[in-house]
Subunit: 666 residues, 2 copies
């Protein structure tokens, strides 16, 4: 281990590499030698190969051409596609763009790091076209240095309302480019205080510099935008998207912004959501708001990413008709087709908010004529705060593989966001990121697997959770077979285990309000957030069938019928869709109450086993990494114990039904 | 209304005063004309009488003598006793001390403010001896300006770790002296950060000045002390009270402190409590710790007030044997008699923590050979945050009137803390205060009644809640008969109403964790604070009888037997002492569950009636006061509605037993 801040770019020395001679020469074709990304690719290859194998390769440039101008998702994919192939005396890397060459270089370095035989790997050539045009990270970093839902220190972008650019900035760009990220939103979607002034002279120089650094790694810089900028910084009395004064202000502002930050890719906007201002304030549609901005930024080749997280966050818990789960579809479906070409709707994977288990948002497979991006969260807000190990790639695989039935084929979420289903001009996937200024970037070292994995999966949705986990361990921790197999076997089931000891059967939300870590079964039950379990003496769950809120019918058939029927609905989501007696038999053959007891006891026991497995690695992995994860396992077990006992006690006290196995419930 | 920051010292102009001629001359005897308190008494009389009646009285000084040196509670009472009597051509004020003269002056001003006939009031002379030697306010103000459990702005003592002395400091001294307060602890009992340096040169000058201002109003300055000062500011490695190095450090420190702040009355100490360090850390007793400090400060005539709030704040909710209610008695009874003469144990009124209903601490009536002070809280931490109207004097009257049976007579709490029961050298009553830098001092203007009332009651425990409320309204708002009667009828039942819509039958703690405002039935149920209701499908309550934790047996007979038996235990405390089925019949004839439903619906309805009554005062009271209280009533009703619906829904969902009256439960 050189430095555990290097994560998967550790480039550890490899003692017995099969045959390294072919790595001594690289032919580079397609992209220009003068391209900064190509220069960075070469530097990276030099550094990595020297460090791992002691090789100092030569680079030969062949024919080059300019990449196509990007006016669609397909253009991006055409440019970023790359090929690695073998020559007699070296390796050829080719792509239409410098970014493609960079990805090719990282492809080679990854295969070397994983100690794969290079000639076998690249026999016949390997051409990779990214699965998704847009592969983004969203930072919820505030300019005061705090991070909303950050669990690994403070922001590395901001200190005291100033933008920080240092060695870590470059390291970060290298890390995320190496897994294929090509866009970063560097500020919180809740744009307040100093962040409202990002689009003013106060920050232009630093942002331009940051944009240049990112561009050198094939990454576009994006900003979250304050929809009410016309009022907050513009001195106008309105943010009405149809108001000529407003439009005119934005035109001037955007001209200035793109002049000063030429690398800027566009903006992310959270409007009319959780107290943020938006077009609804002026009786306008979401499309009115998004299109106004999009039309203005279009001439700069920029895009507007518009979040669909719009719902009533002041619900009365007594009201059983209003259903937060319905809100995204209800708010955005009626305008399908109204959004202009450079607007992309960013849709959270589920209809609620990143719970450990949710159904897929019905907007994915609902919208047919609108650019779409999937939003997931690797910041472990509801999934253990980077204290508990929770490898999220298996969840993302489920999401991506979900059949929406919007068409007869090519209808999965992966198909939709890749552009396959509808041939979208722009589409892709974004993750709310899990990084901070902790030395190892992600707090729990194993949470690095989610950062690595998200990028890898966004780039190639066909990769399996296991492949990704293996690569992460080999590159970041150790290529020792026993170590790899043990850590992979810790990562793979960790999300299921977290689900077991937390909230059962898709109901979610049994967390400490505000904090979102730790158990509180009734924590959100009488609150204003639309997040209820409706448990009483006889049963639990929210009736979202046609007899309840009707949410289930927002899906295409046959999904709608499956979710609508408690006997067909998958067990893991049954309480999301139905209010059921504790004695209801699940497909598993267990009653709801017995399922609750069993999964909670199991979840805790399985978490113990993960922890024991980690303990067995002492001395076999870097000491710092070992201690970092060990300390967190201690906290995870305390957390799991509380969840197990509190959930079981809560339901036992409420239902009066004893555990069939007579285990200790309080 | 002149200025509503004046509260009861508004000195409103009185149009039809019966006969003011006698108020033109004052004879002052006993205390010296050179005494600052006498000078302040004269200034106050001049200001007040001029403002109310346009009178400019003359003052004639008669024989004076020095007050006795105070070595006991009785000495304090001897000094502070005063007599107001009528002469042919004026009024005589006499006392052994300047403070007594000041109290006599405020006595006259109060009676004028209340528009009472002076000759009738003072016919035959009126001699008043304070009920309690120590009548203190405890500020939980932090030096950064925040106030722990403050609901009326920030601290007026501190800004940015500096002590502030301005006009408001004097106003505050006047306000509290006028109701008889004679001691103020100006910093939070949780002594941290800058406050640890209160006893260093950094703050001596300001503290000396503050002490002087207070002394001019008969008020002694006290400080909360960091028990671990030897470590935190002394550079020692121990705070062991028997360690010679520690003792020697304190001797030097105290010599310095009393040299620099000669008016200082002593210290308040929270040790071994909620994470604060203490003698337990070194295997020493609480008496060891308190006596060490007390012996050192004795030569400066100072006292050590030692809080009894010592309990295990890391309890496992699964553990039903440990009982936080037992902790005070268990920790402090074994050392009864071990505390030195200038140590006073400060005991919270209940065994838990200022809930809306608790039994009386069994230490009061347990301890026989130890100086004791009662601690109550007028900061409305658990009683509505000075949003909800909750006039606490009726509660304090109940507490004071409680018969402990520690002796055959003179056994009430009032008797114990006055010194009547055991002839304590020092005793009295302290309130955690409800003031802040809000212009009107207490946030909700009506919360001023608790500040006023606490002082009045501490000075004269024979006053009724109604008398006190009447005086507050007449002096602070209006002497109009209709206004007085309406506001008094808002204040008097307000505590009972708050109790009705919050937690039932003495169980307490159904509050939002941390915040302590708003309902959360399970908020503390699975937490570490020892505060549980143990509700399940069949019943609710904590078994503290001889079959449970045995807490009930900490009381003297017959209290022990009464509390121990669910059929004898008073309804309002029955769930504090017993776990009972929802179907258990109370003395009222109602079942527990029906009592819960009824009181919650009633509580909300009665709160609405209070609000309506206040609304009817529009135009009859000062507009600013009207709006201040109105705005809070709006919030109180929202709060009461939530409590009512959440508590009823919680218990209906859990018990499955419907409301007999078929009202809406969710």
């Amino acid at each position: 281990m050189k430095n555990h801040a290097d994560l998967w770019l550790a480039y550890k020395e490899i003692k017995n590499f099969s045959d390294s001679s072919i790595l001594k020469k690289f032919y580079i074709s397609g992209a220009s030698a003068s391209d900064r990304t190509v220069a960075n690719a070469i530097t990276e290859l030099k550094t990595g190969l020297k460090s791992m194998l002691g090789i100092e390769p030569d680079f030969i440039f062949e024919e080059s051409s300019d990449p196509v101008k990007e006016n669609s998702g397909k253009d991006i994919l055409d440019n970023e596609e790359y090929t690695v192939s073998l020559r007699e005396d070296g390796i050829s890397l080719s792509s239409k763009s410098g970014a493609g060459i960079l990805y090719a270089a990282f492809d080679v370095l990854r295969n070397v790091s994983c100690e794969r035989d290079i000639k076998t790997t690249y026999a016949g050539g390997r051409t990779v076209r990214p699965s998704n045009p847009l592969r983004m990270l969203n930072h919820w970093d505030n300019m005061d240095g705090s991070i909303e839902r950050g669990y690994s220190g403070e922001s590395f972008f901001y200190v005291n309302d100033e933008i920080v650019i240092d060695e870590r900035t470059v390291d970060y760009a290298r890390l995320i480019a190496s897994v294929g990220i090509n866009g970063v939103v560097i500020n919180n979607v809740n744009v307040k205080n100093a962040a409202s002034y990002m689009i003013t002279d106060r920050y232009f120089d630093k942002l331009a510099k940051l944009g240049e650094i990112f561009a050198g790694y094939g990454i576009r810089l994006y900003l979250s935008l304050n929809y009410a900028s016309t009022i907050e910084i513009g001195g106008l009395d309105s943010a009405d998207p149809l108001d000529e004064k407003v439009i005119s202000w934005w035109k001037n502002k955007m001209a200035e912004v793109f002049d000063r930050i030429p690398t800027l890719g566009g903006f992310l906007v959270k409007a009319d959501s959780e107290g943020r201002p938006g077009p609804f304030t002026y009786g306008r549609t979401q499309a009115d708001g998004a299109n106004m901005l999009a039309d203005i930024v279009k001439e700069y080749g920029a895009i507007i990413i518009w979040r669909c997280f719009v719902y009533n966050c002041k619900q009365d818990w007594r009201d059983r008709k209003t259903d937060r789960a319905r809100a995204g579809y209800d708010n955005f479906m009626p305008m399908d087709g109204d959004y202009h070409d450079n607007v992309i709707l960013q849709i959270k994977n589920g209809p609620m908010d990143f719970q450990i288990r949710e159904p897929i948002s019905p907007l994915l497979g609902g919208l047919k004529k609108t650019n779409q991006m999937l939003e997931v969260q690797i910041a472990q807000e509801y999934t253990g705060h980077q204290i508990d190990v929770c490898y999220l790639i298996p969840e993302f695989k489920e999401i991506l593989g979900f059949r929406t039935y919007v068409k007869e084929e090519k209808d999965t979420v992966a198909d939709i966001i890749s552009g396959e289903t509808f041939g979208d001009r722009y589409s892709g996937i974004a993750a709310v990121t899990n990084t901070g200024n902790d030395f190892n970037w992600t707090g729990n070292y194993l949470a690095g697997a989610n950062l690595f994995g998200f990028g890898r999966l966004a780039f190639d949705t066909s990769l399996s959770s296991e492949q990704i986990a293996e690569e992460f361990v080999k590159m970041s921790i150790s290529a020792d077979e026993d170590v790899v197999s043990k850590i992979v076997s810790i990562l793979l089931p960790s999300r299921e285990i977290y689900e077991k000891y937390t909230s059962p059967l898709g109901i979610g939300w049994m967390v400490q309000p505000g904090i979102h870590y730790g158990c509180s079964v009734d924590g959100y039950e009488y609150d204003r957030w639309g997040t209820y379990h409706r448990a009483d003496h006889l049963g639990i769950g929210v009736d979202r069938s046609d007899k309840g809120t009707g949410y289930a019918l927002q899906y295409n058939e046959p999904n709608a019928s499956v979710y609508n029927d408690p006997d067909k609905c998958p067990d893991e989501l049954v309480l999301f869709f139905h209010h059921l007696p504790y004695t209801h038999k699940l497909h598993s053959g267990k009653t709801v109450i017995q399922h609750i007891y069993d999964t909670h006891f199991e979840g805790y026991e399985e978490a113990q086993k993960l922890s024991e497995k980690w303990d067995s690695l002492k001395g076999k992995v870097d000491d710092e990494i070992f201690e970092n994860v060990s300390e967190r396992f201690t906290r995870q077990l305390a957390n799991a114990r509380e969840w197990c006992d509190q959930v079981n006690s809560y339901f036992y006290r409420k239902s009066g039904i004893p555990d069939e196995k007579g285990r200790q419930i309080y």
